[in-house]
C-alpha cells in the first residue's frame, strides 16, 4: 500500500469557506488513492517568496473520482494565499506524508487491530478535519467529541453521519460548555482507545485523562516542518525513550508521526 513519496501537481477541484477563516478544499490528485487516516500532505504556495510546503491533514478522500479533501484555517500568509485560489488552479503537493493511525498502531488493518475496542474520536478546533477520514475508516461507529471555541461549527453534520456526535464549545453556545474532556465527562462517554487531534493543551489533557482512565490515546502532533520527509530534523518532538532512528530522545513528527501513542512522547 505504501507508495513512494513524491511532489506532484494537483488541480483545485473546489474550494469553499465553511466557517469564519475555515476553508474546505478538494483537489484532484493521485494521492487520493493512497491516503490513510492520520496522514497529511505538504501543500506548496504558488509564490517564489514562500518556499516551504504547508503541512495539511487529509480530511477526506473520494478514491473513485481521485479527489482529496483538506480543511484548513487561514493561519498566516500562506494559507491566506491558498484560500484565494480558484477552482482550476494548479498547486504543487508533496505526499503522502506521515505515518497515519495504522502505522502508529503497527498494523495493516486498523479495524482488525482494534478488535472490539471502543474508539473515541476527538477533534479540537482545526484538529477536527483529520478526524473525519479517521472516523470514516472505522467499522464500528465511534463516539465523536468535537471541541469548538464558539457556535461557528464546521463539519459537524458530516461527523454526525459516521458516529455518535458530542459537541463542546468554550463559550457554551452549543453542547457542553467547556472542553472536550468536559463533554466526555458530562456525556459519560466511555471507550478503550482515543484518537485525537487538536491544540497542545487539549492533547495534554487527553493524555492525562487516558492515563487516569486506563485508556490508550493516539494523538496527532504538530511542529514546523521544512522537508516533511525526515531529512532536516526540523520537526522533532521529545520522546520518553531513545528514538530508533535519531538515537536521541527526539523523534521526527513528519515520518514517525504525526500520530503517536501519547505515552511515547514527552508533551
Amino acid at each position: 500500500m505504501s507508495m513512494k513519496k513524491r511532489k506532484e501537481p494537483a488541480v483545485i477541484y473546489s474550494q469553499e469557506k465553511i466557517a469564519e477563516g475555515i476553508y474546505s478544499l478538494w483537489i484532484k490528485t493521485s494521492f487520493a488513492g493512497e491516503a490513510r487516516p492520520g496522514q497529511f500532505l505538504g501543500v506548496y504556495i504558488n509564490n517564489d517568496a514562500k518556499l516551504l510546503a504547508r503541512p495539511i491533514s487529509i480530511c477526506d478522500v473520494n478514491k473513485e473520482e481521485g479527489l482529496l479533501r483538506m480543511v484548513y484555517r487561514t493561519a498566516g500568509e500562506g494559507t491566506k494565499e491558498l484560500a484565494s485560489y480558484e477552482p482550476g488552479t494548479e498547486i504543487q503537493v508533496l505526499g503522502v506524508l506521515g505515518n497515519g493511525y495504522e502505522s502508529a498502531l503497527d498494523t495493516d488493518d486498523l479495524n482488525k487491530a482494534l478488535g472490539d475496542k471502543k474508539v473515541i474520536v476527538i477533534g479540537g478546533g482545526i484538529g477536527i478535519p483529520p478526524m473525519l477520514l479517521t472516523a470514516k475508516a472505522l467499522d464500528k461507529e465511534p463516539e465523536i467529541v468535537l471541541g469548538y471555541s464558539n457556535g461557528d461549527l464546521f463539519l459537524e453534520d458530516e461527523f454526525e453521519d459516521v458516529g455518535n456526535l458530542h459537541i463542546a464549545t468554550v463559550d457554551g453556545s452549543v453542547g457542553t460548555k467547556g472542553t472536550v474532556i468536559d463533554a466526555i465527562k458530562e456525556d459519560e462517554i466511555e471507550g478503550d482507545v482515543i484518537f485525537a487531534c487538536g491544540p497542545m493543551t487539549m492533547l495534554k489533557a487527553i493524555k492525562q485523562y487516558a492515563r487516569e482512565n486506563g485508556m490508550k490515546a493516539y494523538i496527532s502532533l504538530e511542529e514546523r516542518m521544512a522537508c516533511g520527509i525526515g531529512a532536516c530534523l526540523g520537526c522533532v518532538c521529545r520522546t520518553v525513550n531513545k528514538d530508533h532512528h535519531t538515537h536521541v530522545n527526539n523523534t521526527r513528527i513528519c515520518v514517525e508521526g504525526p500520530i503517536f501513542d501519547a505515552e511515547d512522547v514527552d508533551i
Partner: protein
C-alpha cells in the same frame, strides 16, 4: 559532454552535491532522487557522540528562504559508520562526511574514526551558527581557523574541505587562513545568522532566537563571497547558498567555484539536485560548451 570535476584528487561525475543537513544521509530522498546521478552526497553533520540539538521550533520561513536552528542533532559517529556510510556505499556517488564538534578534540575524534572508512572527503563545519560552543567561533577568527585546519589536516586520512561562515567581515581572510592551514578545499557559504519575531505571539519564532538563514534569498551574498574567496586562494572552492536551478549553479561556477551544493532548494523541490544537473547540461548545450571546465570564469 564532460561535466566531471576534480577536487583534491577526487573525481566527481558532475559538480553537483547536496548541502550538509538538507539531505540527511540521502536515505530520505532516495525515493525521489536517483543518488547515482549526484556528484557527491554531503551528509548531515556528525559528531563524536549523539547530539540532541535545539528545542523546537527549529525552522521558520522567511521571504525567499528559511531559518533553521536544528543545533546539529545527530546520532553520533558510531551509528553513522554502521548505518549511513554502508547505505551510501550502495550508490555510485562520492561520499563527503560533514563533521561537527564543540572542541578541537571532538572534531579530531570524528576525523580519526573516519580514517578507515570508505568515504571520499570530509567537510569540517566550523561555521554552524546554531550551537553555543565551538563551531562558529572557529569559523570567525582567521588565526583560530588556521590552527584548527592544521590540527585536522594532521589527523585526517581523506581530503579536508573547510566550510566557511559568511558571518565575517572578510571572507578573503578566512579563505586564506583555511588555505594556510592546509585545507584541500573550502566550501561556502554556511548560513547567515538571522532572526524572526512573531509579533502576535510576542516571541521569537525559533526557540533558539537566532537561526541559520539559507535559500534563494541569500544567493547574492553567496555568489559575492565565492567570488572573493576563489580569487584569493588556489585550492578549489565549493559554492553554495540559494542554488535551485542549473542557472544558479552556473552563476557560482562563473564566480569561481569548482563545484556546488544544493541545500534549501531540496525542501522546495525534492528533485532539485537532479534538476540542477540537468540545467547545467542544458546551459552547456545552449552555449556549445563541451567541457564544464570551459565555462567562463569571471
Amino acid at each position: 559532454m564532460n561535466t566531471s570535476v576534480n577536487i583534491a584528487g577526487v573525481e566527481l561525475k558532475n559538480p553537483v552535491m547536496t548541502a550538509s543537513g538538507t539531505f540527511g544521509s540521502g536515505m530520505e530522498y532516495a525515493d525521489m532522487v536517483d543518488l547515482n546521478k549526484l556528484g557527491a552526497v554531503v551528509t548531515k553533520g556528525v559528531s563524536d557522540k549523539a547530539w540532541e540539538g535545539n528545542p523546537t521550533p527549529r525552522v521558520a520561513e522567511v521571504t525567499g528562504g528559511m531559518l533553521n536552528a536544528i543545533g546539529l542533532q545527530n546520532p553520533g559517529i558510531d551509528v553513522f559508520i554502521e548505518r549511513d556510510i554502508p547505505f551510501l556505499k550502495k550508490y555510485d556517488t562520492k561520499i563527503i562526511v560533514n563533521v561537527c564538534g564543540h572542541s578541537v578534540e571532538e572534531y579530531l575524534n570524528v576525523v580519526e574514526r573516519l580514517a578507515d572508512q570508505p568515504i571520499d572527503m570530509m567537510e569540517i563545519n566550523v561555521s554552524c551558527p546554531n550551537v553555543k560552543q565551538g563551531a562558529l567561533q572557529f569559523g570567525q577568527d582567521p588565526k583560530v581557523l588556521e590552527e584548527v585546519t592544521k590540527e585536522i589536516k594532521a589527523h585526517a586520512k581523506q581530503p579536508v574541505i573547510m566550510k566557511l561562515s559568511p558571518n565575517v567581515t572578510s571572507i578573503k581572510d578566512m579563505a586564506l587562513a583555511a588555505e594556510a592551514g592546509g585545507a584541500d578545499a573550502i566550501s561556502l557559504i554556511n548560513t547567515l545568522i538571522g532572526m524572526k519575531i512573531d509579533i502576535y505571539r510576542k516571541k521569537f519564532v525559533l526557540a533558539n532566537k537566532t537561526g541559520g538563514f539559507s535559500g534563494p534569498a541569500v544567493k547574492p551574498v553567496a555568489v559575492r563571497m565565492v567570488y572573493e574567496a576563489s580569487h584569493a586562494v588556489k585550492i578549489p572552492v565549493i559554492g553554495m547558498g540559494g542554488i535551485a536551478t542549473g542557472e544558479d549553479a552556473v552563476e557560482f561556477l562563473m564566480a569561481g567555484a569548482t563545484a556546488v551544493s544544493v541545500g534549501t532548494a531540496n525542501f522546495a523541490e525534492p528533485k532539485s539536485t537532479e534538476k540542477v544537473i540537468k540545467g547545467i547540461e542544458d546551459y552547456m548545450i545552449s552555449q556549445k560548451i563541451d567541457d564544464i571546465k570551459d565555462i567562463v570564469r569571471l
